[in-house]
């Protein structure tokens, strides 16, 4: 759950803008190229020089994947109820309300239905900006419900994951969301309805160890960090430096845990083609 230790290369485009004086330019954290934001946007936040995929928000994935104007959001108003009255150095309720204000999101996932090249689909997109994309009761419930929407309407399900893992401020409730989402996906699978899992940077912890790894087809953006334990914890445990590229998409492809790596520009077309084969 490393959301608080954002590494330099993981800074979102929004915060990146502050590096550059007039707010119009972003720096690629992989190759260092300075790129105008408008050019970056038209290139779907992919560095035109080195193909580095900037981390983007849920709203951007919605506009990339779905046909314009077709998205209908579900459970938009659902927010965390702080079941444990959790308090560390800060009250969880304060953390939630500050994050809502800052991001304009109500929690770490947006769900709904829309069309992908004309095919009606159910979709969930996680968002790292909201407490590291962590999964608490709201994320679990929204994922479970949108899985049921796919199940009831017999439409394909797409989930774009982007998460540091389970949200510890909801204790065992967070943990149980892994079981909740996986059990609903079991029912969807038994009904023969396709589920495609898209992994973006980062997908770790309890999200990887539940719905993110359960797609009929699992695809990943280039160089996304994907794993169960965080690299820092693994490094501490084994007392050795981790090999180059460890827990990146290409590593998972090599080890047999993702079907293929997709460039963001091809994401929509690849999803369309897959749905065509899976329905």
């Amino acid at each position: 759950m490393p959301w608080f230790r954002r590494k330099k290369e993981n800074i979102s485009p929004e915060s990146k803008k502050t590096d550059i004086p007039d707010g119009q330019w972003s720096k690629c954290s992989d190759c260092g190229e300075i790129i105008h934001n408008r050019q970056l946007e038209s290139n779907l936040w992919v560095c035109p020089k080195c193909n580095y995929h900037f981390r983007i928000g849920s709203d951007q994935y919605i506009s990339i994947i779905l046909d314009k104007g077709t998205f209908k959001e579900y459970d938009k108003k659902m927010i965390s109820a702080n079941p444990l009255q959790f308090e560390d150095t800060k009250k969880y309720t304060d953390r939630i309300s500050e994050t809502i204000k800052k991001t304009g999101l109500n929690d770490a996932v947006i769900t709904g239905t829309g069309k992908i090249n004309g095919i009606k689909s159910a979709i969930a997109v996680m968002d790292f900006r909201f407490i590291g994309g962590s999964m608490g009761s709201v994320v679990g419930e929204k994922i479970a419900r949108i899985t049921d929407v796919a199940y009831q309407n017999k439409i394909p399900l797409i989930i774009v994951s982007q998460s540091g893992g389970a949200r510890m401020m909801e204790g065992a409730f967070s943990l149980m969301q892994m079981a909740k989402t996986s059990s609903r996906l079991a029912r969807l699978s038994d009904a023969g309805i396709p589920y495609i899992s898209v992994l973006s940077d980062p997908t770790t912890g309890g999200v990887t160890a539940s719905f993110a790894m359960l797609g009929d087809v699992i695809i990943a953006e280039p160089k996304a960090l994907i794993g169960f334990a965080g690299p820092r914890v693994i490094k501490q445990t084994i007392g050795k430096d981790l090999p180059e590229g460890f827990q990146r998409s290409e590593f998972l492809l090599e080890n047999g845990f993702v079907d293929f790596i997709v460039n963001r520009k091809e994401l929509k077309d690849k999803l369309t083609l897959l749905i065509d084969y899976l329905t």
Binding site: M1, F4, D75, K77, M78, I79, S80, A81, P83, L84, F86, D88, T89, G136, S137, V138, E141, A144, A166, M168, E170, G171, A172, F173, S174, L175, M176, Q177, M178, A179, K180, S182, S183, R184, A186, R187, S189, D190, G205, G206, T208, A209, S210, F211, A212, M213, L214, G227, F228, A229, G230, I234, I238, K240, F246, Q247, F251, N255, G256, F257
Partner: protein, 316 residues
């Protein structure tokens, strides 16, 4: 004083030692009255201490090195145990054990995390931290139980899934995720018992079932108090506060509606009287199994789905 005495148990052990000492002179001196008084005092002290344990103290009891493990319970509760090994894909993970056993006349599949008791056995068991092959072995045994219509009992006792390089390479996350999905639709009853530590996805990886039971002095949460402290307080020193904040004890989880039942332990913890603990657990397991075996398969799976569906608190 025994090396495994926890801090809060020291006053008890001190008094018990004193009584032992006095008993040596009982023949020569007339001190039986005093001994009796002290013994009463010990009993009172025990009740006082063990009934008012903090959450962190319960975490310590859950980790007590003398606490009975999965294999201990299997040997104490069942007969004709046949241990089955291996995931048929890579190797046999020693941190998860399983096999067929008989609880009186009930034939069951029992699967659990397995810790060691000393350094050597802990290294052999990887401290009860499974690799992917452990979860895959567990799943293989569950599917075997399903095929031959035997109920499954799982016992949770792990500080977490092993965070290692090879574990990631072989798909730790996929192995756990697969188990969650398959357990949610397994066609035989599953009873889950938390017998020690229930740490995060590593515990839940064999923890989806129809009845979730928790021994009185155990913990179950999304993260250990130490790791929670290091992340949220950015220091290892706030584990007591983290344990309080996480609300991770059996009482907490019953209140949260996540577990179904608390199994009482002998005074001072399961390790103080392992056989008594095993007898209590056995009778409860038989009772619970007999109830579950009356439910038709499709209903069983539907209830299981609804059970986990209800977990979570949010506002709309």
């Amino acid at each position: 004083m025994a090396k495994n005495t926890l801090d809060f148990e020291k006053p008890i052990v001190e008094l018990e030692n004193k009584i032992e000492e006095m008993k040596k002179y009982e023949g020569q001196l007339d001190i039986s009255g005093e001994i009796k008084k002290l013994e009463e005092k010990v009993e009172e002290l025990k009740k006082n201490i063990y009934q008012n344990l903090t959450r962190w103290q319960k975490v310590q009891l859950a980790r007590h090195p003398e606490r009975p493990s999965t294999l201990d319970y299997i040997y104490m509760m069942t007969k004709d145990f046949v241990e089955l090994h291996g995931d048929r894909l890579f190797k046999d993970d020693k941190a998860i054990v399983g096999g067929f056993a008989k609880l009186d006349e009930l034939k069951v599949m029992i699967i659990g995390h397995q810790k060691g008791r000393d350094t050597k056995s802990n290294l052999y068991r990887n401290f009860g931290m499974p690799n992917p092959e452990g979860y895959r072995k567990a799943l293989r045994l569950m599917k075997l139980a399903e095929k031959f219509n035997k109920p499954v009992i799982t016992m949770l006792d792990t500080p977490g899934a092993y965070p290692g390089l090879e574990a990631e390479q072989r798909g730790q996350a996929e192995a756990i995720a697969r188990n969650l999905l398959e357990m949610s639709r397994l066609k035989v009853p599953i009873i889950v018992v938390i017998i020690g530590e229930g740490a995060s996805g590593g515990a839940l990886g064999i923890g989806v079932g129809d009845r979730i039971l928790m021994l009185q002095n155990t913990w179950y949460s999304v993260i250990s108090p130490e790791s929670c402290s290091s992340i949220l307080w950015r220091s290892w020193d706030f584990k007591e506060q983290a344990a309080e904040a996480l609300k991770l004890t059996a009482d907490d989880l019953l209140e949260q509606g996540i577990i179904d039942r608390i199994i009482p332990e002998p005074l001072g913890g399961a390790h103080k009287d392992p056989q008594k603990m095993a007898d209590i657990l056995k009778s409860i397991l038989i009772e619970e199994l007999n109830n579950l075996l009356k439910i038709k398969t499709d209903k069983l799976i539907q209830y299981r789905l609804e059970k986990f569906g209800k977990m979570g608190v949010y506002k709309e």
